[in-house]
Structure formats: structure tokens, C-alpha cells
Symmetry: C2
Subunit: 394 residues, 2 copies
């Protein structure tokens, strides 16, 4: 019960702070005495700090304003991309406080080598965060692959050419080997980048968004995160969201997955580049396409138009099936929105007919490709705010 | 708190009865005294009954066995089909105690006339149930149409040619006009038949099934119920499960919904009959196709084979997207399983490739077309067992 009340107080301060103890008591329904005792404990754990006298229009002695501690526990996000590594640290309020990124071609590299590089990057970012008084409380690793129900394990990452990689354990080893025993001891999780991109949109995206939406993202593959009632739908075995392998034209081109006519054949990296007549984009295919489309390259624009249509067909099926309140185009797709959206809107209008659909329910994410990394870090601090008891004993 | 404990005791008896008070206390963690007091209240409400001495291998005075009261509150299910009306009553344990069905062509009939007929059928079934000591506690109406978030309202039922029908209110009026004020006063809900078929599978289907599955059913249209973590996924606006309008061949035949190549064009009533070269089936199209296919009609078998393939394509997309633990072929489709399953299995094997899929995760419902009606009635009593406080004051 006390654990629940700690969370209640902390969530009030997180959502509406700075707040005086009296305001927390009024909002939470707890007594003033109970709030004082709970605040004491939260301050002891470094989660809450006193800002000084709270502004108050009311009669009587002004309360001291409470806020989330900007030097409290931090969340670490780490990301393995096909072409890059990235790490960031956010404070309790989810604000970005340190980050670093390196461009490294990871496709086909041994997992141990990639995770050693990531361990070094984690060290750099943590030292930078520590200099501003932040202490890392946990980390989440975003990966471009299938993460099933076994904790810390990447089951398959076709775009890295990895299978059954115990990523969390290997990262811990790499951290220990480089003397980062403090980071190796942190609780860590591994999740699919598309899932984390969707959660980032839920937690950090624009206000007023529904808690039921589909977030679509693309790096090398195409992934979707299904957010239902404010929670990520992971599926019975942890593999929900494989929008990239929804059939669009059942007799279409052969997909490396073994099926024919999957969405990825039309709207994934290889499919779009092939349609645009580009042999080898060199580096960042999304940026490369955006540059050419902006310059008026009609072949690229047509390819993106067709990709948008295929995305729209697949998403129309998803909308008919799960009835989301919105569809958000995120990840790399966000940068191609102006060329993808017209085809998507046309398909949605034509195929979502037995129930309401409004054009503006399809929107572009403001987080874009930063989503998965920010979502990874934000998830760590959100878990602490939801249940500060998680920190007890550490 | 007491309300929660009433539920705890009742759920124990429902799941594991007959049980002695001592056994309930041991299983629930409540004291023997608390259990006795709670049982007293549940017996007073007619929810629990004493069966006499409980069989017990233990030393000491044998306890009295407690069981759900077979003469307690009943759940009423009512169903409006395109070609029939049906009503049933189940007791607290979900056992079918009375039912009646009439064949009536409802397509295009005014809602008031259909609901008047249904009111008469409800009277008959309730009188039959009352003769065995059951008292109806609530009813749910299963309808072949879209039910949104407004309680009691059918938004669209294309196969009945109904739009914006306040079904719950109209049924209450019809009951009052025929002197059934007792039934008009009951709490009532309206839900889509595909949703109720899926819930019936969850509640009454074969044991050991996953709590994450997709239940597919067909009457005139095609509907799906998405069960996620033991709950029905209704969607942001209440319209989830429109599998029938998932695109299968984007440039396929025009669907009355306005789109092209929807699943219904291949696996719905009109689509299958057209493919089988049947102009006018007369009555029950499912039964008619089953008879012809059993007799070896190759045109019908080929049409069902193609329907199964289209179902498999659409379901493969759904499986990639939401990762259910199983797919259950229910409703009328259950009777066509032997002809539909081969194509479905082939498509699922070919298109669900980036994550595990086992052939036996696709199965046929044992409830079949009885599902929606049984699910409607069972939902009423399940709500009472989950929260017996619902009955308080009545």
C-alpha cells in the first residue's frame, strides 16, 4: 500500500509539478501527514527535490515546491542500427541530457564486436551524464530484430545477419571487460526498435494523441507498434507488429522471408530502391531518397508514391482489423512523409469504408528516427515513476 | 473490499465447487469466519447453495458442500440473425437451460417488427426457465452488424439493411407492449455477433486454449474477434475485427462496401456462391454448401478451396500483425472446416515465416454457430460471478 502511495505522489509531481505538499495531498486524496512522510522517502531516494517556496495565490504560509529531481536516477537508451550505434541518457522527466552516436556498418559484424563498441559508447554517455549529477538506473537496448519472450535475447535480426544472440548478457560481458562494472550491474532490457518507437510516440509524442494507435516505422525492414489502451500489444509470443510481411499483392515479388508480395517488397528499402532504379544508395537510403525526391527526381517520386499506396493497402487492412484511433508514420518514414502520405490517404479513404475514417487520423511523427532510442531511455524512468519501489535496496 | 471478497469466494466455488467453507478459506486466504459470513450473503442473494455433506477424506466434522445455485440468476442471450431469431437462458455455471429459435427472413424487415418477434421469443424462454426456478438477471442481444461505443445502438447492419437502430431501447418497448415489464426492466446490452462468438470460445471453448487468439466467423458477412490477454480487443471506436474488409487482392472485384478485393468477395456468402455457380441457395447457404461439398460437387469444393486460400491470405496478415496464439474457425465456417482448412493452412505456412507458426494453431470451434447466442447469455452470468455486487439492490 505504501509502495502504491509512493507511486501516487511521484506521478502527481511528475505530471503536474512543481507542486506543494498541500497540492499533492489535495490531488491525491492522501492526508497532508501521509504526503509529508512519502515525500520524505522519495527525497531520500533522490527522486524528488525541493525547489524553494512554491508560488501560491492562497492565504497562509506558502508550501515548498516539489519537482522531479533533475539529478536523480537516469534512464539509458542504447541502439544498434544497421548503419549506426547510439546511446542517450534522459532524466526522470524524460528530458534528453546526454547522447552520442557513431556511424558503423553493423550488417554481418559479429555481435561481440558490435556490443563492445556499444559498451564504449555507453561509458562516454554515462560519464557525461554523471558530470551533471545523473546516476543511471537501468538501460534498454533497441535492436532491429525480433525479440521474443525470452528476456534479453534477439531471436532473429535478418538485417544484421544475427540469429539467437543473447544481447543483454553479451553487453554485460563487454561492459565488465572494459571496466564498466557499474553499468554491467544495471538492470537491462532488450526490445525491438519498432516497439520502442511506438512507445516513444505514446510517452513523448504530441499531446492529445489517442492511446490507441498504430505506429509504423522503417529502417531496413518495416515494423509496426500496436498501442492499445495505452499499452503495447506484444502478441502471444512477442512478435506482434510484423506489418512488413502482411501480404499486399499475394502473387507479387518473392520476399526473402519466403512469401510473395509482402509489404516490404513495395515499401521496404530494397523494394523502393529497386522501383526507383537505384542500384546502391550508399549509406542512408532514407536520406538519399529524400534528397532526390526534393530535387524533383520523378523516378524516385513515383517509387515513393507506389510505396505509399502499398503502405496504405496494408494499413487499411490493419485499420479494419484493429480499429486504431490514429496511424502514425514514424521512424525513417517520417522524413518521407510528404511523398508517402498521398498514396496512403487515398488507400485508406478507399478501403476503410465500413466504419469512420478521417484523413487527419493519419499523421507524421515529430520524433521520427530518434523515437526508438528515446523510447528505450524513457521506458527506464517511466518504470521508476510508476513504481519507485523498484529502486528500493539499490 | 467486501465486494471484492464476495467475488473471490464466488469465483472459487464457480471454478472448483463443490467446496466446503474450509476449502474456500484455504484456497482464498480468507479466514474461516470471513468465508462463513460471505457465504451467508451469497446464499441470501441466491448465488450459492448447500448440497449437503461434502465428501472429505480429512479428519473432523465434514463441511457442507457449496455450489453455484442451479436455481439462481440466469443469463439471457438473444440473437437476431439474417434468417432467424434465437433466445436462450443459461444458469450461473453457464449451462444451457432453455432455448428457442424461429426461422424468419429478417433482411429488410423493420426493426420494430423483428424486435416484437424477439420479445415474444424471450417471453417463451423465460417462462420455460422460470419453471425450473431460474430468474433472469440480464440479457445481451447478438446482432449481425456494427455496434459502436454508444450503448444499445446498432450503427449499421448492412445484411439487415438497418442503420442507426437503438436496439436495446426498441426491445424494451416491445417487451413492455407485450406485458413483459419484468424483462423490460432487466439490464441489457447489444453486441456484435462476431465479438460474442469469440467471447464464447474464450469462456466455453475447449480447455487449454490460449487467451490470445483470433476467432473468425461468417454468417452473411465475415467477422473476427481478437482476444488479447483474455479480453476482447474492441478498438478505439468499437469497430475492431472487420476481417471481411481486409484487402486480399487490391484490384479484385468491387465490394458493396466501396473498396475492391475485400476478403468478403472471396470468402463471404455472395463471393462463395458466385464462385460455385449457385444463383440462389434458398435458405441456409452454409448448410447448402456443406451438403453439396459432401456429395462431391467439384464446383462447390473448388469455390471453398479458393475461399480457404483467401481466408488464409487475410489471416496470415493478421497473424503477422497481432501474433495470436491460435486462430479459431468458428460460426458457420466451422461447418465448412474440412474444405476451408487446407487452403488456409497452405497460406499460413507460406506467409507466416518470420516467426513461429504451427499447423495445429489453426483449429475449428466446437461451438460453431451456437457461439454468439451462448456467448451473449454466458456474458451476463460471468459478469455476476466476477462481481456479485452487481446484483445488490435487485
Amino acid at each position: 500500500m505504501r509502495r502504491q502511495n509512493l507511486s501516487l505522489v511521484l506521478r502527481q509531481v511528475a505530471a503536474h509539478g512543481p507542486l506543494s505538499r498541500a497540492e499533492v495531498a489535495a490531488a491525491s486524496g492522501l492526508t497532508r501527514a501521509a504526503v509529508s512522510s512519502l515525500v520524505e522517502e522519495l527525497m531520500g531516494a533522490g527522486l524528488i527535490t525541493e525547489l524553494g517556496a512554491a508560488p501560491s495565490g492562497r492565504v497562509g504560509r506558502p508550501g515548498t515546491a516539489l519537482a522531479l529531481n533533475p539529478q536523480g536516477p537516469a534512464g539509458l537508451g542504447a541502439e544498434i542500427g544497421v548503419e549506426h550505434l547510439a546511446v542517450c541518457a534522459v532524466d526522470l522527466s524524460g528530458e534528453l541530457r546526454a547522447c552520442a552516436r557513431t556511424e558503423t556498418p553493423n550488417r554481418g559484424r559479429p555481435p561481440a564486436a558490435v556490443l563492445a563498441d556499444l559498451a564504449a559508447l555507453l561509458r562516454v554517455v554515462c560519464d557525461e551524464a554523471a558530470a551533471t549529477g545523473l546516476r543511471p538506473a537501468g538501460m534498454t537496448l533497441a535492436v532491429p530484430g525480433l525479440v521474443g519472450t525470452e528476456p534479453g535475447m534477439i531471436e532473429r535480426a535478418p538485417n544484421l545477419d544475427w540469429t539467437a544472440v543473447p544481447a543483454a548478457e553479451m553487453l554485460r560481458s563487454a561492459l565488465r571487460e572494459t571496466g564498466s562494472d557499474d553499468l554491467a550491474a544495471l538492470p537491462s532490457e532488450v526490445d525491438n526498435e519498432a516497439n520502442l518507437g511506438g512507445l516513444a510516440e505514446l510517452w513523448l509524442g504530441e499531446h492529445g494523441r489517442t492511446e490507441d494507435f498504430v505506429h509504423i516505422s522503417a529502417e531496413a525492414g518495416i515494423g509496426a507498434a500496436l498501442i492499445v489502451g495505452g499499452r503495447l500489444l506484444r502478441g502471444a509470443r512477442g512478435f506482434a507488429g510484423e506489418l512488413g510481411h502482411v501480404p499486399v499483392h499475394p502473387e507479387g515479388p518473392q520476399c526473402p522471408c519466403g512469401a510473395r508480395g509482402c509489404l516490404e517488397q513495395y515499401a521496404g528499402e530494397q523494394g523502393v530502391l529497386r522501383a526507383a532504379g537505384i542500384e546502391e544508395p550508399g549509406g542512408d537510403w532514407i536520406a538519399s531518397l529524400a534528397v532526390r525526391a526534393t530535387a524533383g527526381d520523378t523516378e524516385v517520386r513515383d517509387a515513393l508514391e507506389r510505396a505509399g499506396t502499398a503502405l496504405g493497402t496494408a494499413v487499411a487492412g490493419a485499420v479494419n482489423l484493429i480499429d486504431p484511433g490514429a496511424v502514425i508514420l514514424g521512424g525513417g518514414y517520417a522524413e518521407l512523409g510528404q511523398w508517402l502520405l498521398p498514396g496512403m490517404r487515398r488507400e485508406l479513404a478507399a478501403r476503410v469504408t465500413v466504419r469512420p475514417w478521417r484523413d487527419h487520423w493519419l499523421a507524421v511523427s515529430a520524433l521520427g528516427r530518434r523515437g526508438p532510442l528515446l523510447g528505450a531511455a524513457a521506458g527506464v524512468v517511466r518504470a521508476i515513476v510508476e513504481d519507485p519501489g523498484l529502486l528500493a535496496g539499490r
